[in-house]
């Protein structure tokens, strides 16, 4: 069968292509060019996923295993669907999740379209998730690598045509396999940072892009850090440099551990509190994706993750149309507007998910009306 393998240049997608080839498929490697070389990369400090250096690596892997390789230019779409919303949401005091946006808008449809255009019947990626006969999305079996959280928004159509051969593999086994086949990147470290923010300083990227987009940069100015009673306890260099639930990006004058509870873009204020204040028991989500939730509205018992690595929390989800309310059995930490909340069944199936639009105010117990992420 003719299969397009999405290749990032990393070990996972390289192993995927090799596995498919060994299974007897006609494999075609395809790599998306998503953004231009970063300053770091031009200085020779290496690149991240889909950078020009990684595109070259993907080409080398394909040459080595003997399959055709095509590079497709999706820089414009990536800018529009991922980087711009990233800047816009941070500037609005939200915590965006660009990897899931990328999976929703970039990873699948543009490549599936090209796959269809070259007569391929399926497409494969190196994600650690399982696809059950095109009907259900499940967690990958390696709990440390499971990437199903990032895939909830891929949509049922894509699910029918996309394979995840590594869903039943552990990362360690993939590395061993890649080393046995002498794939050039078997020992490459896992990328942890955002591909278009090498070095990890997303604040500078947001600032630069917000300026280019002509967004008001008023909200990105330094401001006060206040406690839950409104007392000024410190200062920060811009709301886009802090993340709800985290302790970084601001300074306080007292030694207690303070966590970001929320940001108020209109006054460039960051509200902090202690760890108990970061807890929440209810979130609302928008842009609901009902991957396995049947019906326009309903209710389901499930577990919910509000971050890629967060512990699944038992919850009741009530959905209607494109929104849902999630009531956790116990309070959880780190739920932030702009992040994804993904719902799982006990058998590891992804039921659906959405983008957190509102988080129950940790202090007053009422739903805090944070502005929802703008639909892009």
């Amino acid at each position: 069968m003719r299969v397009v393998c999405a290749m990032s240049g990393g070990v996972d997608s390289s192993a995927t292509a090799s596995l498919l080839l060994e299974a007897g498929h006609e494999v075609i490697g395809m790599t998306m060019r998503l953004y231009d070389a970063s300053e770091d990369e031009r200085k020779g400090r290496g690149g991240t996923c889909c950078s020009p250096a990684e595109v070259d690596l993907a080409r080398r892997v394909c040459a080595q295993i003997g399959i055709p390789h095509y590079v497709v230019d999706e820089r414009e779409r990536f800018q529009r669907e991922v980087i711009d919303p990233f800047a816009r949401e941070y500037a609005a005091g939200l915590t965006p999740n660009p990897c899931t946006r990328c999976n929703q808008h970039i990873k699948f449809q543009p490549l599936l379209q090209r796959a269809a255009a070259i007569g391929a019947e399926a497409m494969a990626t190196g994600h650690y998730a399982r696809n059950l006969f095109g009907e259900a999305l499940l967690r990958g079996v390696d709990p440390r690598k499971d990437q199903s959280y990032f895939l909830f928004s891929m949509g049922r159509d894509a699910l029918r045509k996309v394979w995840f051969p590594l869903g039943t593999w552990s990362k360690d086994d993939v590395r061993v396999y890649a080393e046995e086949r002498n794939l050039p990147n078997f020992a490459a470290p896992d990328s942890q940072e955002l591909c278009f923010v090498p070095g990890g300083n997303h604040g500078d990227v947001v600032q630069r892009r917000a300026k280019e987009m002509g967004l008001s940069t008023q909200a990105l100015q330094p401001g006060n850090v206040v406690d839950t009673d409104g007392n000024v306890v410190g200062d920060h260099d811009g709301i886009h440099r802090v993340t709800v639930g985290q302790r970084r990006g601001f300074r306080t004058r007292t030694p207690e551990r303070r966590y970001v509870l929320k940001v108020i873009p209109s006054s460039q204020t960051v509200v902090v509190g202690d760890v108990a204040d970061t807890q929440t028991q209810r979130v609302e989500v928008g842009e609901l994706q009902r991957l396995a939730l049947e019906g326009e509205s309903g209710e389901v018992r499930c577990t919910v993750q509000v971050r890629h690595k967060s512990v699944p929390a038992a919850a009741t989800v009530r959905w209607s149309g494109k929104t849902a309310t999630v009531d956790m059995d116990e309070p959880i930490r780190s739920a932030s507007p702009g992040q994804a909340a993904v719902f799982y069944a006990a058998d590891d199936r992804v039921l659906g998910g959405g983008w957190i639009s509102r988080v129950e105010d940790r202090v007053n117990g009422s739903l805090e009306a944070q502005r929802a992420p703008q639909k892009v």
Binding site: R33, Y70, P110, Q113, A117
Partner: protein, 396 residues
């Protein structure tokens, strides 16, 4: 399934040509020969190599009706164009003469980017307009030179790399020179050489670019042809090879191959591209029958540029590649940056149409079966690409 072993139908000869067997055996002979040295050395080893280089120089000169001393070996077509335009304009400027460059937006990037680099140095660049088929007239250039006294160098290709359009270089040079004799006329003959007669002498130009690997010779060598008195500011610095116009030890193994290839190209120039024309016309007819359009004016017999609405060239080329047919979008597609073809944009087409351009360029090894295969596969591939591409554009 592995692809490496499959025979590929090469319909991309404007990109490069396979090495001619006669050129290869001449090169193998030199590669295996002992008693060669650096051609700049005065000892016997150096003299032996110098003889090879000078024989090749005479061969290239004879192939385009030029003087041997007016042939400067360079690394290829790009360097020849760069040296002609940048070296030519800088030399004019250094002598206080008008040094502006007049050229079209259809030119190869080696010309267009060189002009842009000069523009950044403050050299005026005048872009000559072309019509929707990419044609222009000698009178247009004459009037341009008349109304733009700042222009000191005109650069027009003899044949366009993407469209195959050919230009009346002899008439253009005569018209420009009639206006102002001192204006330098450069002609990029990289695509024309070997496909139709190219004559530095008869055309009356000052600078002529040639490339070896487009005429079944080795890559990595080309020539800038000029009058012996033409002044060029060098772009490289070091020794005094090539009379200081292009310093650095000559790539003599490739130069030797180029000399042989140039002789063969001159002998064949009357013929092979014209022999291909009926096939070109057949493909053009098939394109029109399948609902496509042809870009440019009929020119080189081996080249056809076409497009289908709703079928990006990128996807067309992938499909043909997977069928074992090599052709090109004509667009600059290095490292995955797919810009719409600047040449098609210059014809006044919108970006979507420019992104649909596909170029086929046949060569000496093209067979009727190759052409038949292309024509047979075309409607299926167009249909598949159009259908799949439509799904994305209509997606929410």
């Amino acid at each position: 399934m592995r692809y490496a072993a499959r025979r590929v139908i090469n319909l991309d000869h404007n990109a490069t040509t396979p090495l001619d067997a006669r050129v290869r055996s001449a090169m193998v002979d030199v590669l295996s020969r002992e008693g060669l040295g650096n051609p700049s050395s005065t000892h016997a080893l150096g003299r032996a190599t110098r003889d090879l280089v000078e024989a090749a120089r005479r061969a290239v000169a004879a192939a385009v009706d030029a003087e041997a001393l007016g042939v400067t070996f360079v690394s290829g077509g790009t360097e020849a164009d760069n040296l002609a335009i940048v070296g030519g304009a800088r030399s004019l400027r250094a002598r206080g003469l008008p040094c502006g460059v007049a050229t079209t937006r259809l030119e190869h990037p080696a010309v267009a980017a060189a002009a842009a680099a000069l523009e950044a140095e403050g050299v005026p660049v005048v872009w000559v307009p072309v019509d929707e088929q990419g044609t222009l007239s000698a009178e247009q250039l004459a009037s341009l030179v008349r109304t733009h006294p700042e222009v000191g160098l005109v650069s027009i290709a003899a044949a366009n790399h993407e469209l195959g359009n050919v230009y009346p270089i002899e008439a253009i040079a005569a018209a420009v020179k009639a206006e102002r004799g001192e204006v330098l006329v450069h002609c990029d003959a990289v695509q024309a050489f070997g496909k139709r007669p190219v004559s530095f002498g008869a055309w009356g130009v000052d600078l002529l670019s040639l490339s070896s690997h487009k005429i079944y010779g080795p890559a990595g060598v080309g020539a800038l042809v000029h009058h012996t008195h033409t002044k060029l500011a060098p772009l490289s610095f070091g020794g005094s090879q090539e009379r200081g116009r292009r310093v650095g030890t000559e790539n003599w193994m490739a130069v030797h191959g180029f000399g042989v290839a140039a002789t063969l190209a001159a002998e064949a120039a009357q013929g092979h591209a014209e022999q291909l024309r009926p096939w070109r016309d057949r493909i053009a007819e098939a394109v029109l029958d399948a609902g496509g359009r042809v870009h440019g004016a009929p020119g080189l017999g081996n080249t056809l540029n076409f497009g289908f609405e709703g079928a990006p060239g990128e996807l067309m080329c992938m499909n043909f590649d997977l069928e074992g047919i090599a052709l090109s979008t004509g667009a600059a597609c290095s490292a995955g940056s797919l810009e719409p073809s600047k040449v098609i944009l210059a014809l006044g087409q919108p970006a979507e149409r420019a992104a649909e351009a596909v170029r086929i360029s046949m060569g000496r090894d093209t067979t009727e079966e190759d052409v038949q295969m292309l024509i047979e596969r075309l409607p299926t591939i167009v249909g598949r690409v159009r259908k799949a591409h439509g799904t994305l554009e209509n997606a929410p």
